[in-house]
């Protein structure tokens, strides 16, 4: 069924590909122009192939802050003074409308690029939209995470569910005709666990749940992302540095004659002679995730007084130079976080448990039976998604059957803003 829907979307959305429609989505009929998974992941879709979405000025939206005081008002370190309440964004329609929650991906805040894009897409289609930070995001860890150690999926989902219930209570005047849920990347995994909770608590009775580019096996996913920092780079003997990227940009802008940072920047850069190599792009993707891990490690360590990064009892205030702590946290990758922070916490209730057992509990496998028997949940992913490993697509096929769509290209979430994908998303929630 979904295949058909996608095909319909393809026919409606992209006149360019009309002449080569096929029964299944192969690269040519799909029409997505970026064949390099890393480039797609960084730059997304070229602007002319994106859908028309709502303009910011036309959206009735505001940011709010949720006070979940029970979390840790008294033990919060001073330097997190602005992290005691959880920010989120609500865009509301004039009258009654369906509502959709959007859960951001690893380390991402509610207001980052992808949730913003999805908001504009769904708002234009008539939805109230609530944008939520990822449980791994700095603001969520400080304000809404009870253990301040994200990664145990069922706990993260409970934290999220509590936040969503509080938001519902906060805006009781909002006229909601049905509740829907989506999330991308880690947010997609979160969405599945949240949906399961809702099936017993029934606060929302989600009509539809869409998982976009979810990880299947968390250890595989974070293993892939960690590996991206071990890529061999051709640096002519220079130490690795982000300056390289800025130098490329400088040359590129110089040729262009002016600085222009817009949605097409990466795409245009990759079509200039200053284009980045695949290993360089892979490194950038890896680095973006590692910055998130460093934030998680630092924040989780300090709040829980583990003493692995910040010495226990050390006075920290706003004028403290944090660079030495950043450097310590930056040396800890996903695997290190899982072993040093997550596993010991989990072992408090699972004595003698191994990392592999933890992985089974927090990955999609844990929900296999639930997902098999929940027709409201669907998955969209890509054959070249960086966070997947061998066997993951087979698991998704087995588990979701007709409710799975695999696009041939797009890397990790790079085609979320491609017209073919957005048409399929809207169609899914309309159905």
């Amino acid at each position: 069924m979904l295949r058909l829907l996608s095909l319909a979307a393809l026919l409606a959305g992209l006149p360019l590909t009309l002449s080569v429609q096929a029964a299944s989505i192969d690269a040519a009929s799909y029409g997505y122009p970026i064949t390099n998974a890393f480039e797609a992941t960084i730059g997304g879709t070229p602007p002319e192939l994106r859908p028309a979405v709502a303009n910011d000025e036309d959206i009735d939206q505001a940011d709010y802050r949720l006070n979940l005081e029970a979390v840790r008002a008294e033990t919060m370190p001073d330097i997190f003074w602005n992290g005691e309440t959880l920010p989120y964004r609500l865009a509301q329609q004039d009258g009654p409308a369906p509502l959709i929650f959007i859960i951001a991906g690893t380390g991402a805040q509610y207001s980052s690029g992808k949730p913003e894009f999805l908001k504009k897409l769904f708002y234009a289609a008539g939805y109230h939209v609530v944008q939520l930070s990822s449980p791994t995001s700095y603001d969520f860890i400080t304000a809404a995470s009870r253990r301040a150690t994200p990664g145990i999926s069922s706990d993260d989902a409970q934290d999220l569910y509590r936040v969503m219930e509080a938001i519902k209570a906060e805006h009781s005047e909002l006229q909601v005709t049905s509740y829907n849920l989506t999330g991308y990347s880690l947010g997609a995994l979160n969405a599945a666990f949240v949906s399961q909770i809702d099936d017993s608590k029934h606060s929302f009775n989600f009509k539809r749940v869409l998982m976009l580019n979810p990880p299947v096996d968390l250890l595989t996913s974070v293993g892939n992302l960690d590996r991206l920092s071990r890529v061999e780079l051709d640096l002519n003997g220079k130490p690795p540095s982000f300056d390289m990227l800025f130098e490329r940009l400088a040359h590129y802008f110089k040729e262009k004659g002016r600085i222009e940072v817009d949605e097409a920047l990466i795409f245009d850069l990759q079509n200039s002679k200053e284009r980045l190599s695949t290993p360089a792009m892979a490194s950038l993707v890896g680095s973006a995730f590692r910055f998130s891990v460093a934030d998680i490690v630092y924040t989780s360590d300090l709040i829980n007084k583990r003493g692995l990064i910040t010495p226990v009892g050390m006075e920290i205030d706003y004028s403290t130079e944090l660079v030495p702590f950043f450097k310590k946290a930056a040396a800890c990758n996903f695997r290190c976080y899982a072993e040093q922070h997550l596993l010991p916490l989990w072992q408090q209730h699972n004595i003698g448990g191994t990392l592999a057992q933890l992985d089974k509990q927090v990955s999609l496998y844990a929900l296999e039976n639930y997902l098999k028997t929940s027709p409201k949940i669907s998955v969209m992913t890509n054959a070249d998604d960086l966070i997947l490993g061998p066997g993951d697509l087979s698991f998704l096929r087995r588990t979701f059957g007709e409710r799975l769509t695999i696009y041939p290209l797009g890397g990790h979430c790079g085609n979320l803003d491609y017209r073919v994908n957005t048409d399929a998303m809207l169609e899914f929630f309309r159905g």
Binding site: A27, E39, R230, P240
Partner: protein, 261 residues
């Protein structure tokens, strides 16, 4: 696969085709079982290497001898922004219609063209100086003192040049990183530039604004609110406990970009 690429190329035009053909990760060897194309397979990994540690550590090393003081000012600015500036912008947005706000922004932005012109000339960027002159003329004459910014509509986008950039263009190093109260991130060189641009604007007294501002505090206030209104940055939006260091690095790199361009 090659046929598919060719078709895609035909459909999407030659410029995209170049990208497709030159991309190293296009040899999608599909696993017969499941279609997974394993994008990491095209890369070479070195066990024990960690590029991120080296790169992120070097990004933290910006010359900042006054860090403790700077961090204090940064926190002051953060709170000032949350409790004074942003509420003022919200009030301003609430009481004025959009076209009026756009007019105000264009007016002050037009004033900013004057230092840009001077600095373009100082850097001998002839063509840009011409463009900036044209902007100034179009906006002042056609646009009633720049209220409608017709120059942008006519394809002459705004080009900012300040004296800090001019100094940088002639090789003056950035000097120590500095967080200025209210104004935000800067460094010794750019702070000197800011002083020169402000003095220059005072002495040129273009459209008599500098002179009137001395007598009418409201003009400066409106300009300050407009500056905040048109600056998209929000404290906290980097969403990291290391915001200060991140902003410091980004500021330094963006200034390098502006000078090089």
């Amino acid at each position: 696969m090659a046929k598919h690429l060719f078709l895609t190329a035909l459909l999407l035009g030659s410029s995209l085709a170049n990208a497709a053909q030159s991309s190293p990760a296009t040899n999608n060897q599909t696993d017969a079982d499941e279609g997974f194309t394993a994008p990491l397979q095209s890369l070479t990994f070195i066990p024990g290497l960690d590029n991120f540690v080296a790169a992120s550590n070097s990004a933290m090393d910006v010359y900042d001898p006054l860090e403790t003081w700077n961090r204090g000012v940064y926190q002051f600015n953060y709170r000032l922004d949350q409790w004074v500036m942003l509420p003022a912008v919200r009030g301003y947005t609430y009481v004025t219609p959009k076209f009026a706000r756009t007019g105000v922004s264009n007016f002050f932005s037009n004033l900013g063209d004057l230092p840009s012109l001077g600095n373009s000339l100082l850097q001998l960027k002839g063509e840009r100086a011409m463009r900036t002159t044209a902007r100034l003329l179009f906006n002042t004459i056609l646009g009633v003192a720049g209220i409608w910014d017709p120059a942008t509509a006519m394809g002459l986008p705004k080009e900012r040049e300040d004296f800090g950039q001019t100094l940088g263009y002639y090789g003056v190093p950035a000097g120590a990183y500095l967080v200025l109260p209210v104004y935000g991130p800067s460094n010794l060189r750019d702070t000197s530039g800011l002083v020169v641009d402000t003095l220059g604007e005072q002495s040129a007294n273009f459209l008599n604004v500098a002179e009137e501002s001395k007598r009418h505090f409201e003009i400066s206030l409106l300009r300050a609110i407009d500056t905040r209104y048109t600056t998209p940055y929000r404290y906290g939006q980097l969403n990291t406990p290391f915001e200060y260091s991140r902003v410091r690095y980004l500021y330094t790199e963006v200034r390098k970009l502006q000078i090089a361009e």
